[in-house]
């Protein structure tokens, strides 16, 4: 059993990756109406869901999701739930892999062909996601620990930058009084949706104290949320962030690192983000493979390699059919479904726990 800090790493990784790659465009698209209020509400909503989940996962220490659901749900229902989980996490991983390859292609090596880059990343991530859960978590710890100082430095640089106009920030926060919308809440909830990984890694993670977990998640989440919402606005103003797809990379390209031998913060940020994003894809695909295993479809040599090669070919084929706009559209679809599905899963767990209690 691993300590509960690995659970925090999962939450943190999910947040850091999602905020930077896709959601900014989506969240800033409604900056004049509902996005700020919706993001805050989604933080509160996810905190409630986390507490609900953690409280009801307590009776099942060290059990896998299939063991938890046995006795409450029929096998067919279990398998269809697992299938949905699998598709969602696989889709999230694929979309992020494609988008991150685009970013690397644009900023680091425009001379190498896109297909080659994608192929290398795909090959690497698929095989790493075959590692066993504990090694994945250890790898995650290293990457997150290296990434945290970069984020702290970024926030400090932002706070100390004399070029930031406070009026921009005040203007942005003056749009707080608007009704939230479902689309924006779903986008916000996606940032915090790392808690669903508990279902996969429950076998290897200690159960947590819900109240302590909640305070940490809420304070850190609020801090990061505000930082990520306001830092680009401080650099570009509310009107200036509308039409940029990679707003975070433009932002870090505008941050000057004083007293350091590299002047552009972008360089450091890109390299850190490379590790974090690939780790996120690995976790996503690892999750989908774990769900396959739970559904008893991943045992034995032949079946395993069938799925792996299926994953590789499928990703490559989907990539061929996905351009920039389909990637973005599919992401907003995925977000909308994922929030609903997460709520359904949490309540399924609640039901399982109730039933277990009644039996005991």
């Amino acid at each position: 059993m691993l300590r509960v800090r690995y659970y925090y790493y999962l939450l943190y990784l999910n947040f850091v990756v999602c905020i930077i790659e896709f959601t900014p465009k989506l969240i800033y698209s409604r900056r004049y109406t509902s996005s700020l209020s919706s993001s805050l509400i989604s933080l509160i909503a996810t905190c409630l869901l986390i507490m609900l989940l953690e409280k009801h996962m307590k009776p099942f220490p060290g059990q896998s999701i299939a063991q938890i659901m046995n006795g409450t749900l029929t096998h067919f229902f279990q398998k269809s739930l697992f299938f949905c989980c699998l598709v969602l996490s696989y889709g999230a991983g694929l979309i992020f892999l494609i988008s991150y390859t685009q970013i690397i292609h644009r900023f680091i090596c425009p001379d190498i062909s896109f297909g080659l880059l994608f192929g290398v990343f795909l090959f690497f991530t698929v095989f790493v996601s075959l590692l066993d859960p504990k090694s994945t978590l250890f790898m995650l710890e290293i990457i997150v620990l290296f990434q945290i100082p970069v984020i702290v430095i970024m926030i400090l640089l932002f706070l100390l930058d004399a070029n930031i106009q406070v009026d921009f920030l005040v203007e942005a926060s003056s749009y707080l009084l608007h009704w939230p919308s479902y689309q924006m809440i779903a986008a916000g909830a996606f940032l915090f949706s790392g808690y669903m990984n508990r279902l996969v890694f429950n076998e290897h993670l200690e159960s947590s104290k819900p109240m302590k977990l909640l305070t940490i998640v809420f304070t850190v989440g609020l801090l990061l949320l505000l930082a990520y919402y306001f830092i680009p606005i401080g650099y570009f103003g509310l009107a200036g962030i509308g039409n940029d797809n990679d707003i975070w990379f433009t932002t870090t390209n505008s941050i000057r690192l004083p007293h350091f031998f590299i002047e552009r913060f972008l360089v450091i940020f890109l390299i850190m983000q490379l590790g974090v994003s690939l780790m996120f894809v690995i976790i996503c695909w690892h999750t989908s493979l774990q769900f396959l295993k739970q559904a008893n479809l991943f045992n034995g040599g032949k079946l395993k390699w069938f799925w792996v090669s299926f994953l590789l070919v499928m990703s490559f084929v989907l990539w061929l059919y996905m351009n920039d706009s389909t990637v973005r559209n599919s992401l907003s679809w995925l977000l909308n479904i994922k929030l609903l599905f997460d709520i359904v899963l949490v309540f399924t767990i609640v039901r399982c726990a109730r039933k277990r209690k009644a039996v005991v």
């Binding site: 009026d167 009107a239 200036g240 990379f249 433009t250 390209n253 505008s254 002047e263 552009r264």
Partner: protein
């Protein structure tokens, strides 16, 4: 490549003349690598120009080191927003590159070769980087700053102007833009005041005349704050400026400095600065330019944004200013 210049083309049917400065530095720290090549091409778009320049050099042009973007006066007077937008969206150009207006054009300025510089073009870079405390006249404007000033209603673009003074370079004027083109070039005296109002002032000299003689006073530090309040339905901007005086130089048989003289000097300085600030603010209002960001400030203090841009553009021509200056001498 260390700098890019964009001029209006002298050739008919061409829009721009793009100039690039390629450093011939060898990468050895001990050797000063200030040799450079200037390449110039006439073209219809900047991207077309940069492509043509690629064919004029045996080297791979690397845009990641561009630290200075210079615009000729001709381009600035026509349309600078498009060019800034292009550079902003190009991923390989640093958004912390500094902008400048070249007088008479960018080519002449890029040709300038100082006696000594670390890398070709670093002369401009260091001047701008230190301009906040180094120069009494201008503050540096980076690419991302320019872009946000173009996009945001109620905050207008300013860019420092570089010009030759004999054989040397001088950067002591600020050019004011509306959202698209150069409107006014402030005199160096006005630039000083604008700098004081926006980024603060460090070490500047005033010469003051009292009944006891003429003194030259160094202001060590100055900072301005303002707020916008409504009085009788009309907005009024209240500036409070705090200045700290340091060393006083006596001129023309002036009397020895005493506390009384210091007090009267402070009073005269306050009056003088108040007058200058008021004149500048009225000038900006008359030109309908807003480099300080009154419009943005007004907008940011409201919760109801349904028609604030319109109401502000109606307010601004009638805006009134109240200026409170506090001048204090350092104890010594």
């Amino acid at each position: 490549m260390t700098s890019i210049g964009v001029d209006a083309s002298e050739v008919k049917n061409k829009k721009y003349a793009v100039v690039i400065k390629i450093s011939m530095s060898k990468g050895d720290v001990k050797v000063i690598g200030s040799d450079f090549i200037l390449l110039k091409v006439n073209c219809n778009s900047i991207s077309d120009g940069l492509d043509q320049l690629r064919a004029m050099s045996d080297k791979k042009l690397e845009y990641g080191h561009v630290k200075i973007l210079l615009f000729g006066e001709g381009v600035a007077k026509k349309d600078i927003a498009m060019a800034i937008d292009y550079f902003m969206r190009r991923p390989d150009i640093q958004k912390i590159a500094y902008l400048g207006i070249g007088k008479p054009n960018a080519y002449q300025l890029l040709k300038f070769k100082p006696k000594e510089e670390a890398v070709a073009g670093s002369y401009f870079f260091y001047t701008f980087q230190q301009s906040l405390k180094h120069s009494p006249y201008v503050y540096a404007v980076t690419l991302y700053d320019a872009s946000r000033r173009i996009m945001t209603p109620g905050l207008d673009l300013t860019i420092p102007v570089m010009a030759f003074q004999g054989k040397d370079l001088q950067i002591n004027q600020i050019a004011l833009f509306d959202k698209k083109q150069l409107e006014v070039e402030l005199s160096s005296e006005e630039s000083k005041i604008l700098k004081m109002l926006t980024s603060g002032l460090y070490n500047d000299t005033l010469s003051l005349k009292t009944s006891n003689g003429v003194y030259s006073v160094t202001t060590e530090k100055g900072k301005a704050n303002y707020k916008i309040t409504l009085s009788q339905g009309k907005p009024i901007v209240i500036f409070s400026i705090k200045l700290k005086g340091g060393l006083i130089e006596r001129l023309d048989d002036a009397e020895v400095i005493t506390e009384d003289i210091k007090n009267s000097l402070a009073k005269i300085a306050e009056q003088q600065i108040q007058k200058k600030v008021y004149e500048l603010l009225i000038k900006l209002r008359e030109e309908n330019l807003d480099p300080i960001g009154f419009g943005l400030r007004y907008r940011s203090r409201h919760f109801d944004h349904s028609n604030d841009t319109e109401s502000w553009s109606a307010f601004y021509p009638e805006l009134d200013f109240k200026i409170q200056v506090k001048y204090k001498f350092k104890e010594n």
